[in-house]
């Protein structure tokens, strides 16, 4: 890995390799622990200390109904909030990239706001809003809260992906006789779809992962992160690690597919 720069010696190269290795270790050690502890056979209720290798948890991942319900809840919230925010976010991104208009500047600013505001502030102020309008907290308040920050992520991701898109392709389609709807369906969407898919995956992952905002607005509903947080007091079975690992592997596969697809399609869509 060491490449001799103009002032680099063999030792500085080695040091750089070591440093890079440590950073990677730092980043991936927690994930490694989660995955490996899914194969643990803990001594008691808490899967915190390594005892012996076992496939027990993998054989029976749905042993605890409350955990399964929490996971189902999380997936449902993620699915609904992602579907909505992908549509809204992509439309915002298209509007910002496709046209020059007065509102573009303020909208860009508003998009970044949910990302920079501390989650505690967002979560608590949302809760006070829901209480003021007398909305019962639960599934839908969590969905609304997740849509709120996901739209920003989707819009920014899609915007970054479709920068440089050759808009004369739309003119070409209309010139050849395609009305606006067919133009979007046959030309614009197929070409920007990989960007939208990537944004969707990001939004799904963020929703699945969110703890603070969810905690404020979930009422008596329990999502996967909330369950895990609560579990550390009563019991922490390895099934938690099993489900986490499954999601990890699943998203890695999806990510791989998207990246391959993207490299193919997006390159074609850019001008020149």
């Amino acid at each position: 890995m060491a490449r001799g720069g103009p002032v680099g010696s063999r030792w500085t190269g080695r040091l750089l390799d070591l440093y890079a290795g440590l950073v990677l270790l730092y980043l991936f050690l927690p994930i490694f622990v989660i995955v490996s502890y899914s194969f643990n056979k803990p001594a008691g209720k808490f899967n915190f200390v390594w005892k012996s290798f076992s496939l027990d948890a993998w054989r029976d991942p749905f042993l605890y109904p409350a955990l399964v319900d929490a996971m189902k809840m999380s997936l449902k919230v993620a699915a609904v909030s992602t579907s909505v925010s992908v549509v809204f976010g992509s439309l915002i991104a298209l509007a910002l990239c496709r046209y020059t208009w007065k509102g573009a500047g303020p909208i860009n600013l508003l998009l970044v706001l949910p990302l920079t505001t501390p989650e505690v502030v967002l979560g608590s102020s949302l809760l006070s809003l829901f209480l003021q309008v007398n909305a019962p907290t639960g599934f839908w308040t969590v969905v609304i809260a997740h849509i709120m920050f996901s739209v920003s992520y989707v819009a920014l991701t899609v915007k970054a992906r479709i920068r440089g898109f050759d808009w004369t392709l739309e003119e070409a389609a209309m010139d050849l006789g395609a009305p606006p709807f067919r133009t979007v369906l046959k030309v614009t969407l197929p070409l920007i779809a990989p960007g939208i898919a990537a944004a969707g995956m990001l939004s799904f992952a963020l929703s699945l992962d969110d703890f603070i905002i969810t905690l404020f607005n979930a009422g008596n509903q329990v999502t996967y992160p909330l369950y895990v947080y609560g579990a550390r007091r009563a019991a922490f079975p390895p099934q938690i690690n099993v489900l986490a690992t499954t999601i990890l592997v699943g998203s890695l596969i999806l990510l791989g597919i998207t990246v391959l697809w993207q490299n193919r399609t997006m390159k074609e869509a850019m001008t020149k």
Binding site: L169, A172, A173, M174, L176, G177, E268, A269
Partner: protein, 376 residues
């Protein structure tokens, strides 16, 4: 002549900037019509209005007699070849070409029949299943052409379609375009800033400048009988000598040049009063040089042998630069830089033009160099 497209007093402004001013002309059936001018002259905006991407602020555009000024592009029977082709990157060549007829909801059998025909005309058969990215520039160009022609449009609009190709390929494509146009018999409206391209292919040329159409005519008319100083300077090389009208008779004018030299020039339709300022235009190949005798005095700056002609740069005593192409046939004085010569021309080959309002005509030497540089 049946007209396919008629522009009636068309005007287009962007904010306070007038992009097209009073465009008013007809384009005939089967014609190869070029709009020629420097960048920003309004030629592309005019084309985009015909295509339907822009709407005129005033005036009308008629397509085969129908007012289409407010008709969206997908309901106009004209098609465009875009400057950078705008091929659909996710579709094969075949699907690109089939896009038009499919969008117009034709039967799939008819679609395939047309696609096959157009792939043949453009000689793209063996590339049908490729994606645009797998084709060379010239091949992409032909796909763009096939895709635009497959709807059998009333007119094909071409927006500097050869701009992205290198010089050699561009010249080959000029001939190819002309061949295809003859074969399909469709009206071509061609936008370019390259005068040579326009002269080579067009039946008629509209020379545009600063949003106005300066002159419309056949290549020969435009070259030999330019109606403004701008047209004279933009097409080919023109010598422009300041002149004052002293008499007019039968489309002829007698003028005085600087140094009280008298000269004659053709001046059809010239209405200015004697005594007014004008410009006398002579093409370099129409000038003759002699060592003495009558004619306009000028000092030879440089003489460059260019094969068929000797290209002479001269300067008149009042500082006007003159280019003369002296042929190898006929009498020719000994050419020595620094010496004074006499410029002569026939009255028929000189033309009287209204004095240019503002800027001097383009320096043609510079422009040609720019064109060559731009093609690489």
């Amino acid at each position: 002549m049946d007209s396919v497209i008629t522009l009636e007093h068309v005007q287009k402004r962007f904010g306070t900037y007038i992009a097209v001013h009073e465009a008013h002309f007809d384009i005939g059936k089967g014609e190869f019509f070029s709009m020629l001018g420097p960048s920003g002259c309004g030629k592309t905006t005019t084309l985009r209005m015909i295509a339907g991407f822009e709407q005129p602020d005033s005036g009308r555009i008629l397509l085969e007699g129908q007012d289409v000024s407010r008709v969206p592009p997908y309901r106009r029977n004209v098609n465009t070849v875009f400057q950078h082709y705008a091929l659909f990157p996710h579709m094969t060549v075949r699907d690109n070409v089939a896009f038009g007829p499919r969008s117009r909801k034709l039967e799939e059998a008819e679609v395939q029949k047309r696609v096959k025909e157009l792939l043949e005309v453009t000689r793209l058969n063996q590339f049908a299943e490729r994606k645009p990215a797998q084709l060379s520039g010239g091949q992409q160009q032909r796909v763009a052409l096939a895709r635009a022609l497959v709807n059998y449009p009333s007119a094909l609009l071409l927006d500097e379609p050869l701009g992205a190709l290198d010089l050699k390929l561009r010249q080959a494509m000029q001939i190819e375009l002309k061949r295809i146009q003859r074969e399909v018999g469709i009206t071509f409206i061609y936008v370019t800033h390259d005068q040579e391209e326009a002269l080579t292919m067009s039946d008629r040329i509209a020379v545009m400048n600063e949003g106005r159409v300066e002159q419309i005519g056949t290549p020969e008319e435009i070259y030999h009988s330019p109606s403004t100083v701008f047209v004279a300077g933009f097409i080919g090389v023109a010598n422009l000598l300041p002149a004052r009208v002293i008499g007019l008779m039968d489309n002829r004018a007698v003028v005085t040049l600087a140094g009280e030299q008298r000269a004659e020039a053709t001046a059809p339709g010239w209405a200015a009063k004697p005594g007014s300022d004008a410009t006398l235009m002579v093409r370099p190949e129409r000038l003759r040089l002699s060592a003495d005798g009558p004619g306009v005095a000028a000092t030879l700056t440089t003489a460059v042998f260019q094969g068929p002609v000797v290209r002479c740069l001269l300067a008149t005593p009042d500082g006007v630069e003159v280019i003369a192409h002296v042929g190898s046939e006929g009498p020719r004085p000994d050419l020595q830089p620094g010496r004074s010569y006499r410029l002569l021309w026939d009255a028929d080959s000189a033309r009287l033009l209204p004095r240019a309002k503002a800027s001097a005509p383009l320096d043609l030497q510079e422009r040609t160099t720019l064109d060559l540089a731009g093609s690489h």
